[in-house]
Each structure stands twice: as C-alpha cells, then as structure tokens.
Amino acid sequence: MMEMIDTLMETVMSNQVSIPLIEPMLDVLPEIPMLQYMVAFMLWKPLFAILICPGLTVGGLTLLFFPWIERKLCGRAQWRVGPHEIVWWLGGVIQLLADTLRFLFQEVIVHKDAHRPYFLQFPFLSFTIFLLPLLFIPAGTIVAIQTPYAIQIILALVCLFPLFILGLGWASNSRFAYIGTVREAFMYFAYEIPFIIAAIAMIILYGTSDPLLMASRQSIPGIILNPVAALVFFIGAAMATGRMPFEIADSDQELCAGPHVEYSGIAFGLIYVLCYEKAYILSALMTILFLGGGSGPVIAGLGDLSGVLWFVVKTYLVLTTLFMLRAVYPRYRLDQGLKLGWSPMLCLALIGLAISLVVVAVRVI
C-alpha cells in the first residue's frame, strides 16, 4: 500500500507546476499531514490543466464574465454604459451570475411537438462534450493530455459542434428551428474546409502538431509567418461561432434565434453559453497556432504560471476581437456567407497552404 502511494507520489512530484513565488509556503507543508498530498495533486500538471487553466476555473470564469465584458465593450462603442446597476461600484460585473441563476431557477418548458428525450438531452450533452478539446490545449507548458496529434484531435472535436446544433434544431420541431438548422448545416460545410486547411498549413509550417512543440518553434509568431492562414482561421472562427457578419443560422430578427427558439430555462442558459465556450476554445487554438501559445517574456517569480498568464491574455485578446465584430458589422445573407466560404476563403486557405510550403522549403534550403 505504502509503496503504491510512493510510486504515485513520485509520478505526481516529477511533473509539478513550479511556481517560485509560493515555494516557501510549500516548504512548510510537509508538517501538515494530508494537505501536502492535496497540494501536490493540485499542482500536478495534468490535473492543474483540467481544474485551473485552461480547464474548469478559467473556462468557467470566461463563460461567466466574458459576456459581461462583451456587453460592456459594445456598450462603450454604442455610446452607452451597458449592465451597471447590479453592483454599480463594480460596473455590474456579476450581471451574468444573475442571468445564469435566473435561468437555473426558471421553468423548463418542453412543448408538445418536441422530441422530449433528445430535446432535454442535447443541451447538457453538448455542453459537456464541448469541454473535451480543453484536455488537449496547453496553457504555457501545462497540458492535460500531451499527444503529437493534439491539433488534429481538437479539430475533430470542434467539428462535432454543429452536429449538436442540428440535433437541437431537429428535436425542437419548430418551423424557425428547422430553417435555422438547415442554415447551420449549410454554413458548416462552407467554413469547415478552409478552416481545417488553414490549421493544416500551420502544422506543415511547424512540422509538428504537438501544441507544446508548436509554441517552442514560434520564435517568429505564426501570424507573421503566414498571415493569410491566420486571416482564414479567424474568419472561420467567426463563422463557426456565429459572430456578427455570419450570425446567419441563429439570426434573431429573421428566425428568432433559429435552432434554440424553443428552449427555456437552464437548457437555454447552457445553449446561450455554448457559443462562448466554442469561441473560447477556438481562440485558444488560434493562440496556439498563430500567436505562440504561452510564450512570452518570463515574469520572475511566476515560473510556469508565466506561460499560463500569457496564454490567457492572448486568448482573451482574440476573443475580444471576435466579439467586437458585433459592434461593427451587420449580418450577411445565407448565400453571401456560403459564397464567401466556398470561394474567397477556400482560395485564401490554399494560398496560405502554399505560403507554408514555401516557408518550409526556404528553411530546408
């Protein structure tokens, strides 16, 4: 028994998040019985990735506070204040908490024509499954599962998203949900191919698909090496998350929010944050592929957390840009969106691929 614990502790201790700032504290810990093990587990890199960053804590906080940031920034752009009164001395920062709790306590209506089991399953199922890519995304050097095929796996999981939206729409059995679902399916094919090609271009450029190696090989960030692929990837992310010029599937004024028109209560609450979840993951991916992941000037005293910090800052930068599109653009029509996806974006993606090949060739020569 003791041997087993020792072996386990050895594994855990060999892969710790090192934070010089709190090391004096850790030195005191062995005197307290159980706490030592608990802290050791918490600082074990895979677990840290799942629980803290980029996993549940940072992810959850993003979902809870990012909509507020978005609403506040849009408010500034629109000559107004945005959420304010709820805690006026903090600028209404817990607005989303109130919204979430309200959804939680509200009635969930399942209407007569809906397919009841699927109607109720899909929001919860999709919310959980959408969290999976976070396992493969490294924050600095901290990652839950390290594999050389991480990018491919993330892309595969990201491609699952629209399927769940289709499921939601189908289970709703409503006219607007039907139109919205069909639009979602169309858009899916339009952005997915250029989007994947852009990612592949970067994999070719770096010669690896391990996110940690990718970050180390970006002495010059990917966005400078291959700006075309970055552009395609960014537009693809905007399309995938249904951001403004491409808010075609769930356009509020045309289709009453399309696939999720019939959802209420916490089921809608989950769908509402789904798009933020998706945007968070895609922004993280963009950070890894184009912005050098967690690389940046090391902040003394933070150790591994320095990388985490840079990663979060970069991700939020991308996320904010993505969401501020709302303040600038009206939405495209379905056919315009499709046209954009199938012709200019596909061409650009191929050009991006070519650029990558050229860069690789130049390096080899």
Binding site: Q78, Q95, L101, F105, M244, S251
Partner: protein, 788 residues
C-alpha cells in the same frame, strides 16, 4: 381562496430553499419579451437605445418569448392582438411579469370607445400600469424598477388614492368643456358641392373630361382647386375608369372610400384617382357612385385597372360589408379580428358616448367588453376547445397549396423580433420567397369611426396617434383640410414655424426608420447611433411644444403658441450640430460594405411596378417618379424656400435608403432657412384672426380659449381632401361634412404605410428569405400608421 395567475408568480418566487437567491437573480435579470403591440414601442426603443439604456438595469430586450420573463405591453391591445398576447404570455416560463405601458393599455386611452380595443388586464395578469400617452422612457424605467421592488417584496411605487370630500365648485370658469355634439338627424351628404375657384386648367380639364366620358358620367363638378368630382352609375363605373386610365393617363388610386347614408338608404362609393404626369400630378379626380343599402351591397372592383386599390377595397369590405366584385380578398376578414363586430363603420353601429360629468351610480364606461376566449384564472391548463379558440387563423388553403408545390410556409409575427405589429405568411421554396401574404390589423384602432364621433378639434390629437414617430405631418394634413374648407389664411409666422416642425418631424421619422433598419440587419450600433440623433430632435420638440412625440401643436388657423427665440436659436444650432453625429452614423452603418452588399439590387421596383402597386413618398421617388407633394401642390412655405426633391432611378433598397438620407439632409437645410427667416420676422399672432372671432387676445397663445374658439367649429357642406407629404409618403385626409353637425360625417385617412404595404409584398417576391427584412425595413413600415 383560489390562487390567481398573478399570485402564482409570487408564490414560485417565494418558495423553496433558495428563495433569496432566486429573488435576487430574477430581480436583476428581467428580460422583456420583444412584443411590440402599439405605438408606445417607439418610446420603448428609446429606452433601450443609448439615451436611457435599459440594459443598465440588467434588462436585455429578448426576441423570444420562451427565454424572456417579462412582457411590456406597449399600449393598445386590439381584439386581434389580444389572442397573440395571451399566447405569448402562455409561452413564457414561470415566473413571469407583465407591465402595461401607455394610457391605451389601461382603459383604451384616447381610443376608449373604439370597437376594437380590449383591456390587457382582462387577458393577462398585470403587475404594473405605467400611464402616459405615450409614456416617457423615464416612466418606463420606473416601471422596471417597480417590478424589481415587487420581486423584492417591497412596494413603494403604487400610488394609493385618498378619498377626499371636495366642496362644490363655484362659478363657471373651471368646468370641464361642455360643448355638446350636434348630430344632424337626416343630413344631406354630398361630395360634389361646386365651388368657384380660379383654376383655368381645371376648366379645360372638365371640358376634356366631358368630351372623353361622353354618356358615361352623370355630372362633373369642380369641388375645389385641383379637385374634380365625377358622378357616375354603378354600371358605368368600370367603363369610366377604363376611359380615364386609357386616355387621361390616370394611373393610381389615392384613396377608396365608402360613405354610409342610412336615411337615404344608400352607400356612396368613391375612388380618388390621379396620374403621375406633369399636369395631372396635383389633381385628384373623385369618381363616385351610389349603390343601394340592401343586405349585401355589391359593386365592381377596380383592382384589375389599378392594383393600388386592392387593400383599401378589402379593408372597406370589412368596414361596411360592401362587396367589391372582382377582388379576390372578399372571403374573410382582413383588418379585423374574428370577434370584432361586423361592419362596424356603418352608421347604425353606435359607439359609446362621452360623458363630461360623472353622475352618482353611473359607471364611467362599459364600452370595453373582454374578448371571449379569456380562460378562467383558476384553471392553469386549457381544455382542447379553449386551445383551438386561442389559435390564430392558419391559412389552410395556403398550407395545402404549399404542400402540393413542395414549399415551406412560415408564419412570422405578430410576436417576432422582425415582424413589427403584423403577421406575415411567407411561402418559400428553398431560400427563395415565393409569396408573402400580409395579415395586418393588429393595431387597427378604428381611427375613422372614432373621428366621426368627436368634435373637429378633438380629432387633432387623434390624427397624430397613428404615427407618433412623425406626429406633426399627420396633424398638418388634417388641419389643412379644415383650413381649406373654412378658407382661412394662416399667419406667415405660424406657417414658417409649422414648416420647421414638420421638417423636424420628418428628420425624426427618418432616424426612427434608420434605427429599426440596423436592428433588422443585426447591427445594434447603427440603432444606437440613430436613436441618439433622434433624441436631439425630440429634445427640440419638447422645448417647442412640451411633448416628445404627441404635441398636438398644430391647430386650425395656426399653432397653439409662439415659440421662443431661445428655442429657435437651439434649432439653428441643431442644424449644424447634427452633421458631426450623422457622419459617424454614416460611417458605421450606411457605408458599411456588408450592408451595401445586402441592399444593392435587392427588392427592385421599377417605375411601372411602383406606380402599379401605388407606393408613395420617398420610395416612389426612389423608383424614378418625381412626385413630391411639397413641390407638386406646395403648402405652408415650401415654395419660398430653396430645396430640391430627391429622385433616384435604381428602385432597390439601397436607392430607397440613400434617397431618404438625401431627403433628410434637404430637410435640415429647410429647417435652417426657415429658422433664419423666422428670426428676422417680427413677433406677432400665430393664430388666424378669422377663426378667433371674438377672442382676438388669444392670437399669440390659445391656452384658456381652446374650447371657446374651436368647440362649435362646423365645416361647410362637402368633401374636403388634403394631401400632405409626411415622412414616409403621401398622407391623405378626406373629411366629409354635412354642414350642420359639429362633428365630421366621415373622415377617411389614407396613410403612406398602408399604401406601401403592397410595395413590400411585390418587392420581396423572388428574393431570398433574409432579404425580406431588408425590403421591409427599407420601406420604413410602421404598422400603427398603416392600420390606423
């Protein structure tokens, strides 16, 4: 005691372990359901826009009932809308709250004795009433606060009345106005009263008409300058019209009207037609005929000749039961709800009379009967039959036909983020619109019937209610018809001030439409910027008249009171200050590449199509017809100022938007010139002395003399038609007076949006589904104005 629907919400809020959390969360997350029911929606939009910013309170406007928990009933609930309100309320998850805003929502407000009004409190449980017509955004925010306090369990907002004994009044001066209404029992109603006018072209035209219509007409009379009445028989109506259409170039119908004359056992049916040729533009030819008042009166429709008569004929079929043979829409009701009284505009359908004094034991009003489908408050669920009753008409034949052709049908509205206050039945094949069928009348408040039962002066506030985003122009039309009838010349200063206000109103309406358009495109920044500019216009309105949207400032003979130099100075500054903000708005929205790609070559109406559909105003000009009432038949001081009417020839959404933008800039120019002129003018009377009679001292300010001067206004016998260029097009008022009563015998109001409805349908045919909203918004459609 049985639990009422209202108590249920509170019980849900106050039960369970998490009560404090639940109450706190609900309080700060009241999402109002985007349910536009009437014109108070204009002020709701202002509350949501950047001036007041409802989102500060955590109140985010949500388009979908399933996800909202709060309804703001915006004013009038008509019988047709009542059903929709109940459905929306049922769709919302518990706990849910209802605020009723506006005077109409309480007891009908200005429409209290209309045949189409219900009380929202009969249909859904109401938490708070916010009075005002319309409410101010401040009032609306206070309403949200009141609900928040209610959720907390506090109640500081409800006004509690105290019962006080008042001593009997002394003297006569403070009494409520008691001008009695005089209804002539058997009036002689004529629409072709001849009048001597100096109009050389008219005399030639009559000669020409007599030669052309030889044998088809009974009489041809000049009733006023630019107005000619042609009497014919029902058999010859179509033939006369065809002759006019073929030989004279008459190409559109301005108005269709039916006048009920029960004591002579007849209906008079009249078509007001005109042509968009150079000389015919200001002229209105009234073709009228008389038909018997039997059980099912019939007359041939002129829809085959002039498409623009279509919807007006269907509307009159609802109102009078007159069947227009040849019009396809004669089967069911068009504007009215199934449970509205049949043929309500006939003279024998009487509205409840107004009471000026309250007698002991007599209820104040009993006019509003609740709609029959209100479910009992005790049972939480519906029986099958009750559910059937609640459903809206489903257009079975459309559904069947669509199924046969492998098409998809969507019912859009009246509760839909992008429908406004009416319902569209959209048939689509793939992403292409096959046909859009309108189902209007959700805000039909029976303006025409009410106007027949009120004094001429009491109708002034009424006539601006259809369109509170453009109130001055609506008023101006009605008042000009009266002035024309009485032959009053308005003082010069008043004319200039009227022009200033009319143009400000036009600017305001432009920015209203240009705020709703971005919303339909999903561009909230454009909405905010636009309403920020509109707020400047409303600020000026408040300073001039004291009211944001409903000033009722223009009265027969002039304006209520002179406006101060300070306000004129402000208006002058506004004309230069607007440009800076306008530039920002244009940069973010109008010249946005995405928007331009959405609008270009979408919803094209060629010149011929536009005339055939009968669309009016800037939208007609965008299709290349140079018809602007301000140029064609100048009124006020438009002929003394230097400005240009804008015309385009593209006829697509982009053309319509850019045309209106250009027109708005011209309006700013007009305001600037007019303000300069007024500032140089000596101060003096602003009300014509001809109408003041013995009360000459009121010429600078009517306050205190209004009923003395205007109470017993009687118009000369005949039909008085005025045409005015409102913000969204030509508004036509046609007042028929019998010369004896001090109330009009019939008032016909044709608003621009009602005429433009046909244009929206035509323009969106064959476009993509998403383009429907581009087309719809580019027409600046304002349903309360269309439904009247």
């Amino acid at each position: 005691m049985e639990e009422t629907e209202k108590d249920r919400n509170i019980r849900i809020l106050h039960s369970g372990v998490f009560t404090p959390l639940r109450r706190w969360a609900t309080k700060w997350s009241l999402w109002p359901c985007h349910f536009l029911t009437s014109c108070c929606g204009v002020e709701l939009a202002h509350t949501g826009a950047c001036g007041y910013d409802m989102e500060r309170l955590g109140t985010l406007n949500m388009g979908i009932s399933r996800q909202a928990n709060f309804i703001m009933v915006e004013g009038t609930i008509t019988r047709k809308m009542a059903r929709a309100l109940r459905i929306v309320w049922e769709q919302m998850p518990d706990p849910k709250f209802v605020n009723v805003i506006g005077a109409c929502g309480q007891r009908g407000g200005i429409f209290w004795n209309s045949y189409n009004i219900t009380r929202p409190s009969d249909i859904v449980p109401v938490d708070f009433f916010i009075p005002g017509c319309p409410i101010t955004p401040e009032g609306l925010l206070r309403g949200v606060r009141a609900v928040q306090e209610k959720i907390e369990g506090r109640d500081n907002t409800t006004i509690r009345f105290k019962h006080v004994e008042l001593p009997p009044e002394e003297g006569e001066q403070n009494r409520a106005p008691t001008t009695p209404k005089i209804f002539a029992p058997t009036p002689l109603v004529r629409v072709d009263v001849p009048r001597d006018v100096d109009w050389a072209f008219g005399n030639d035209l009559v000669k020409n008409l007599k030669a052309q219509l030889n044998g088809l007409y009974t009489s041809i009379t000049i009733t006023d300058k630019n107005r000619i009445a042609i009497k014919t028989t029902p058999e010859n109506l179509v033939e006369t019209s065809r002759k006019l259409s073929d030989t004279m170039g008459v190409d559109h119908v301005k108005s269709v009207n039916v006048i009920d004359v029960p004591h002579e056992r007849k209906f008079m049916v009249e078509y007001m037609v005109s042509g968009y040729t150079e000389e015919l533009m200001p002229v209105i030819l009234t073709i009228f005929t008389e038909i018997g008042r039997e059980a099912e009166p019939e007359i041939s429709s002129l829809t085959s000749l002039w498409e623009s008569a279509n919807y007006s004929e269907r509307e009159l079929h609802d109102f009078f039961g007159v069947k227009f043979k040849g019009n396809e829409g004669m089967k069911g009701k068009f504007l009215l709800a199934p449970d509205t009284p049949d043929t309500p505009l006939r003279r024998d359908y009487k509205l409840e009379e107004e009471q000026y004094t309250i007698e002991e034991g007599v209820p104040l009003t009993s006019a509003i009967t609740p709609p029959h489908y209100t479910p009992p408050s005790s049972s939480p669920s519906y029986s099958e039959s009750e559910l059937e009753d609640l459903k809206m008409p489903a257009y079975e034949d459309v559904l069947k036909e669509a199924e046969k052709n492998d098409e998809f049908v969507a019912f859009i509205g009246p509760h839909h983020s992008g429908s406004g206050h009416l319902r569209w039945v959209m048939r689509m094949k793939g992403d292409i619109i096959k046909e859009v069928i309108p189902d209007p009348g959700y805000v039909h408040r029976s303006m025409e019937k009410i106007a027949e039962n009120r004094l001429y002066i009491q109708n002034v506030p009424l006539t601006e209610r259809p369109n509170i985003s453009d109130p001055i122009n609506m008023n101006l039309g009605y008042v000009r018809a009266i002035e024309n009838a009485l032959g009053i010349e308005v003082p010069e200063r008043a004319k200039y001030i009227r022009t200033i206000m009319a143009e400000l109103s036009r600017i305001g309406a432009f920015f209203y439409d240009m705020g709703i358009f971005p919303l339909f495109m999903g561009h909230s920044t454009g909405f905010m910027y636009s309403f920020a500019i509109r707020e400047m216009v409303l600020e000026l309105m408040v300073r001039m008249t004291g009211s944001r949207c409903t000033p009722s400032f223009i009265i027969p003979g002039g304006i209520r009171r002179d406006i101060s130099d300070d306000v004129l100075d402000r208006t002058r500054k506004f004309t230069s200050a607007i440009h800076k903000r306008l530039k920002k708005y244009e940069n973010i929205f109008v010249y946005n590449p995405v928007l331009i790609s959405r609008m270009k070559e979408v919803g094209v109406l060629t010149r011929e199509e536009a005339i055939r559909c009968g669309i009016v105003g800037p939208f007609l000009r965008a299709s290349g017809v140079e018809y602007d009432v301000r140029k064609a038949e100048p009124y006020e001081v438009y002929d003394k100022l230097d400005w240009e009417a804008t015309t385009g020839d593209a006829g697509d959404c982009l053309g319509r938007i850019f045309g209106r933008l250009e027109e708005m800039k011209q309006s700013v120019e007009i305001v600037r010139q007019a303000v300069d002129a007024v500032q140089e003018m000596p101060r003096g009377g602003v009300i014509s002395e001809e109408i003041l009679g013995d009360y000459k001292e009121a010429s600078g300010d009517i306050r205190g003399y209004l009923y003395n001067v205007y109470g017993d206004l009687v118009l000369p016998k005949g039909e008085w038609t005025s045409v005015t260029e409102a913000a969204r097009g030509t508004v036509l008022y046609s007042i028929i007076s019998d010369g004896e009563s001090n109330v009009p015998y019939r008032v016909r109001i044709i608003t621009p949006c009602w005429m433009n409805l046909r244009g929206i349908i035509e323009a969106s045919k064959g476009e993509r589904v998403a383009d429907f909203w581009t087309v719809y918004a580019s027409f600046g459609y304002f349903p309360p104005e269309a439904d009247r």
